[in-house]
Amino acid sequence: MPIFIDRRLNPKDKSLSNRQRFLKRAREELKRSIRDHVRTGRIAEVDREHAVPMPRKGTSEPTFSDARDSGQRQHILPGNKSFSPGDLIPKPGGGGTGSSAPGTKQSEDDFRFVLSREEVLDLFFEDLELPDLVKLNLKQILSFKPRRAGFTASGAPTNVNVGRTMRNSHGRRIALRRPKQAELDAISTQIAELEAKPPTEATRERIAALREEVDRLERRRRRIAYVDPVDIRFNRFDPQPVPNASAVMFCLMDVSGSMGEREKDLAKRFFVLLHLFLTRRYERTDIVFIRHTHEAKEVDEHTFFYHTESGGTVVSTALEEMHRIIEQRYPVAEWNIYAAQASDGDNFATDSERCIELLDRKLMRLCQYFAYVEIIDERESHIFGSTENGTSLWRAYNAVDGKWPNFQMRRIAAPADIYPVFRELFARQPSLRKSA
């Protein structure tokens, strides 16, 4: 007899560390493909698994191998139908070796594999140079707490609710009139008493009748179980997400001609980061995209990022549109409102005043947080540095910045500049979580 070993319960993912080593090796290439993914994909989809092409650089395993295009070879093939010695067969496709040389190279080229959510986020964060603490916070999935929620007819044996089960069983026994043990005992003693007396015709008949009765009762008892599967009740648990609220995120962006590919890409990453933050904290997050030139419109994500529109720049229209949507669809009592605005800072001089007013009077009262990023050229970054002067919108928002603690503004020229915008938002996290 052979030795049997059941390995199915052995720990899984034996090759997980090999996978990690492989990903580490191909890190640069994977980072690039995640960057592309962020650029082209939807904001809400960054936070997911993602298939990436097999990296080529740094992961080849060279060996000495024969060159396909040199020398004399012989191929031995089965299934000759019509050839005789000396027949010449033209080579297919410019000297390739066709059927006799199964190409493995091509299949490896279009080979894609799936990165898990954690791995995608890791690569994304690395690009943004997020501090570790923040990474950890963002990667957590909403935790669920089981909460008692009534009873159910199916479940795990450990969750059997004995009280409820026995109550059901009792009710059923009464309803079906299951004979009690006491009844049986009573009849048995009766039989015993009769048997103790001298036997007569009457007692014998009586005993027989009683025996039959016992038999009937016992059969009935057997048929009607003491505890039947239909009686069993289990405690039901409902997974309850711990933080329980909804948030809406407004993405405002200037789409006039001055916002190019690079500017939009930076803006998108900025939005993605805010969205990641929100999805972690809130059970439900909506995203509203508002783009504006000299007039503002609510659009879908694709239009938001990919359609350009010509026109002037009147920022206040976007703020008005946002206010209108809040009034219409997102009552402040139910929604946490976050806003992120990206722009290159151009605005009609007269309009900036209106923006200040709108923010000050209306929006900042409604918003949990308002982040403004001005996307500037990398060459400009050292000129502007931290000076107060800048574009007209920048100067205008400066006034708001001083007044409202939940207002943040920042100039960004590279991905690494994005995080500081959110620094306070993330820094506040631990204390909030403690109080929650």
Binding site: P2, Q74, T97
Partner: protein
């Protein structure tokens, strides 16, 4: 008959398996195999695994334990994708040449399939591993698992001490030379036991601790004043280094001047594993053929004795015929010659020649034709041949006709292929030797040897590639591999391509040019 009563009784019914059934089926199959086919096997250890674990095993070259390396992760992803897409099924079983012989069974298999797999792996492969001379002489079935365990632990310790990157660099380079890391011609030294390895490690550690640089400054004895006499010293140098050397990894491990002791040990590990797998590469057709022949014969015997139901037999036959399916060259499913089909075909052919030979067979195989006892012939072939010699010896004209084999000559500069031989009187022996040659692993791998190095001079390592039939090396991978060799050797390396027949040097590539 004694087992008249048992005869009518089915070994199993239904498609679900459990351990009691597996055990009953194994016992029965083993009894028949030993009694009817005279099989001689290692004790068997059966392990039930899930598909995930099968994929794990795939990526670590089929071994139950393996050291960690990124390339295994890459292969895992690749296999997993093919499997998930349904492009490739997983093997029903995996068997390891060890003592006891470890057989992996997939949990998804039905009972009929488990019976088939048991006969195939636990009897067929197992017998082959235990009896074939290549495995007997070149591998150590008893020691391999403990050696892998040691290798895994050793490499993990190295990673801890010297860092992941340093270890990875050595492994990458060693993996690139795995094909050139085997002894083809003389037998490798036996794996040392656990104790010896422990002793070796202690000695190395002691040497590291007590190393004193001062010793190096002592003048060496009278060696210096020997006259350098051209050819003679060259010959002597080669002799002292045992050159030419075909096993590049062995040479680097023993002679490299830049490697630390732990790096040498890692190279040794890679080399030992490459050597362990070398017989398997040379006996693919025979190994699979033997296993397939055994399962086919045993299953039919069991069915004839009424121990397997018709339904189960039908399932077994269906799987069997999937395994031995050989499409013709022009079929879109064609992907080379199926070793299962070729092996089984040849072994059944031997059976036929032994029992009902034709006149042609008597001509070609005078010593086995009509010998009746095909068992001995097969046992003898299984024990003493590898693919190349097996085909050269036993591929019969009847089988060549049945398969309609033909040979295409393919010159790289020609615009067309030429049909060289077909299944006719003139072609039989040519096809046979061409097919045999294509299974000669030693001949079909690039033949690269260390030919010279001047350890006292510039330490330039000279390799030589014997170019056969004008088949050169692929440039890109050759350069990358040379770079790996340079990293292990520490000094420049050059590779000369020399025509095997004329001896003319065709080209030379040195790491200086890279």
């Amino acid at each position: 008959m004694v087992n008249q009563a048992r005869k009518s009784e089915l070994l199993f019914s239904g498609s679900d398996w459990d351990f009691a059934k597996l055990s009953r089926v194994y016992d029965e199959i083993e009894a028949i195999g030993v009694e009817e086919l005279h099989l001689d096997i290692y004790p068997v250890q059966m392990e039930v695994i899930s598909s995930e674990q099968m994929l794990d095993a795939y990526s670590s070259v089929g071994m139950p334990l393996m050291y960690r390396h990124w390339s295994f992760g890459k292969h895992f992803l690749y296999n997993e994708l093919l499997y998930r897409k349904g492009a490739r099924g997983l093997a029903y079983e995996l068997v390891i040449n060890s003592n006891p012989c470890i057989v992996y069974l997939m949990e998804e298999n039905t009972m009929a399939l488990q019976a088939l797999v048991t006969a195939h792996a636990a009897l067929g492969h197992n017998h082959f591993f235990k009896n074939n001379h290549l495995f007997r002489q070149w591998t150590d079935a008893g020691g391999i698992l403990s050696y892998l365990d040691f290798a895994k632990g050793y490499i993990a310790r190295c990673e801890e001490r010297h860092g992941l990157q340093a270890v990875e660099a050595v492994l990458d380079a060693a993996h690139a030379l795995m094909e050139q890391g085997v002894f083809r011609y003389h037998r490798p030294p036996k794996l040392s036991s656990e104790q010896q390895r422990e002793g070796l490690r202690e000695r190395l550690e002691y040497e590291e601790r007590s190393y004193n640089d001062l010793w190096r400054t002592l003048p060496t004895a009278q060696d210096k004043n020997k006259p350098e006499a051209g050819d003679e010293s060259l010959a002597e140098r080669k002799k002292s280094l045992n050159l030419p050397e075909e096993n590049l990894l062995y040479f680097l491990e023993k002679n490299s001047l830049v490697l630390e002791p732990w790096q040498r040990e890692i190279i040794r590990i890679v080399r030992v594993i490459a050597q362990y797998f070398y017989p398997q590469r040379q006996t693919q057709v025979m190994n699979e053929g033997c296993a397939t022949f055994v399962h086919y014969t045993l299953m039919n015997m069991l069915f004839d004795r009424g121990r397997i139901s018709e339904g189960a037999m039908l399932e077994i036959l269906r799987n069997h015929s999937n395994v031995v399916f050989q499409p013709a060259y022009d079929d879109p499913r064609y992907s080379g010659i199926n070793p299962y089909a070729l092996g089984l075909g040849m072994m059944q052919d031997i059976q036929r020649i032994s029992t009902e030979p034709t006149a042609e067979d008597r001509d070609w195989f005078p010593d086995i034709a009509g010998r009746v006892d095909w068992r001995d012939t097969l046992l003898d072939a299984w024990a003493n041949h590898r693919d190349e010699s097996f085909i050269r010896q036993y591929l019969s004209p009847a089988l060549i006709r049945k398969w309609r084999l033909f040979v295409l000559a393919d010159g790289a500069d020609e615009p067309h292929y030429e049909v060289a031989s077909i299944h006719n009187e003139r072609g039989y022996s040519k096809i046979r030797s061409a097919l045999a040659r294509s299974y000669d692993v030693g001949a079909s791998r690039p033949d690269i040897q260390v030919v010279d190095v001047d350890l006292l001079g510039d330490r330039h390592l000279r390799l030589q590639h014997k170019v056969k039939d004008g088949i050169q090396l692929e440039d890109e991978s050759r350069d990358a591999t040379l770079r790996h060799i340079r990293s292990l050797w520490g000094y420049d390396v050059s590779l000369a391509a020399m025509d095997a027949e004329t001896g003319a040097v065709l080209s030379e590539r040195s790491t200086k040019e890279l």
